[in-house]
Symmetry: C2
Subunit: 256 residues, 2 copies
């Protein structure tokens, strides 16, 4: 884990890093309270499709974890995202995502799109495990299982197989995803997950049906799981859910 840059604002330090995983250089960010010393709960944030490790919602969540809970937070660019692609490619992907959403909303196209990166989910899982290993060597994180995973949409697509395989994850927040034809492995991974879960879903999500979302919630093997349904489309999760997420972390990972 090679640290490249560091920046502190509003009591929160953000450290940018690169980690070599399987021949790839994975770019990531670690946030923690300014001057933090010693182990503390860690949240892993899996960004959405066409987004990146410093997208507005990722950065805002990381800052609130540090400021309000004293936690550390990690985010990495998923395969084919952020600093791992050219600006032109990133721009083209964002345009394609918007267009796919628009067409799905008008019923003109099936919502599911194949990933541009073959084997992206398996790659993402391996990268998360390697980044977690490396981060736990740091004094400010520490080796423990007070680790939570958050990721909606593509963050659930990649997060479910990761969390199913990673015993250090104590609790997770997923959402904006469902059971899809051709993603049978994803549903099977969901069944393997037994930790406390929150699942957030948008009732008018243009990319998936209500039944698909409910089916994924039903599939999770956890007995402690809660689903929050709100009106609106895929990118319209209401701001008050951020408070639910903070309360969820505090309930399951405790004080820093």
């Amino acid at each position: 884990m090679q640290f490249l840059a560091e920046n502190t604002a509003d009591g929160v330090t953000r450290r940018e890093f690169r980690l070599e995983v399987g021949g790839d250089s994975v770019p990531g960010c670690l946030w923690h309270p300014q001057g933090a010393v010693g182990p503390r709960p860690l949240i892993l944030l899996g960004h959405g499709g066409s987004q990146h490790k410093k997208a507005a919602n990722i950065t805002a969540a990381a800052i609130s974890h540090a400021q309000e809970l004293g936690y550390a937070t990690l985010a990495i660019d998923a395969p084919g995202h952020g600093d791992r692609v050219s600006r032109e490619q990133a721009k083209a992907d964002q345009d394609a995502a918007r267009e796919a959403g628009r067409r799905a909303q008008q019923g003109q196209a099936p919502p599911a799109r194949p990933s541009r990166i073959p084997g992206a989910a398996a790659k993402a899982v391996a990268e998360w495990r390697a980044v977690l290993d490396a981060a736990q060597q740091l004094d400010v994180v520490g080796r423990h299982d007070r680790v939570g995973y958050w990721g909606v949409s593509m963050g659930t697509r990649f997060g479910v197989p990761f969390v199913a395989q990673e015993p250090r994850i104590a609790c997770a927040i997923f959402g904006l995803f469902g059971v899809f034809p051709g993603l049978e492995d994803h549903r099977l991974a969901a069944e393997q997950i037994k930790i406390p879960l929150m699942f957030v879903f948008q009732w008018e999500d243009e990319l998936m049906s209500r039944d698909q979302g409910l089916a994924l919630f039903n599939a999770f093997g956890s007995t402690d799981k809660t689903m929050h349904i709100n009106p609106g489309g895929h990118v319209g999760v209401p701001a008050h859910e951020r408070d639910s997420w903070l309360a969820f972390w505090k309930r399951h990972l405790g004080e820093a």
Copy 2:
């Protein structure tokens, strides 16, 4: 509103009262922070079937409203409940409710039971309105629309028509109820409600189906509504929802 007894513990004052409404003497309780002066947000708590104004969950909620938010809280015995029936009748009703739940769980009986009191919902609505009128004369409550309604199960059965008719209610928490054959008026009342709502539902509720619960959530006319689904049966709402409820009040009714 005739006050009969007062009790203070842990910084919370509970005042028992009676109010004459339409020839009936309605028993109720008002809770507020010890020594509270001046207007503050008010929560109305509608208890469940076979329960009463001082049932454990009602009392616990009222205490946390006072201690954590500085709010006032009102609860009344619904028609045919609490101090409005003999101990023998109350006991018989509780036994009948348990038996109905048991039989419904085993699929031996339809879950819906007619109320023992004819016109109970209309009566409950009139009583809530009268109690709110009277409470708003008190200095510690005040005349305003920073009023929330909470009620699940029978508290939603009676609360939906009340909230639909009462413009002083700014936000409400319902749950453990659904769309039922023969209760068409209830669904129509739900459609009239436009205020921010939270709706809590148990995914293995032995008294109603998932589809019935989702249908009631869908029926509410509010654009700001959120549904929390948790595993388990009718009386198994997890403790963490109490924190969601406090956050909901704070978000919509503000500081005391």
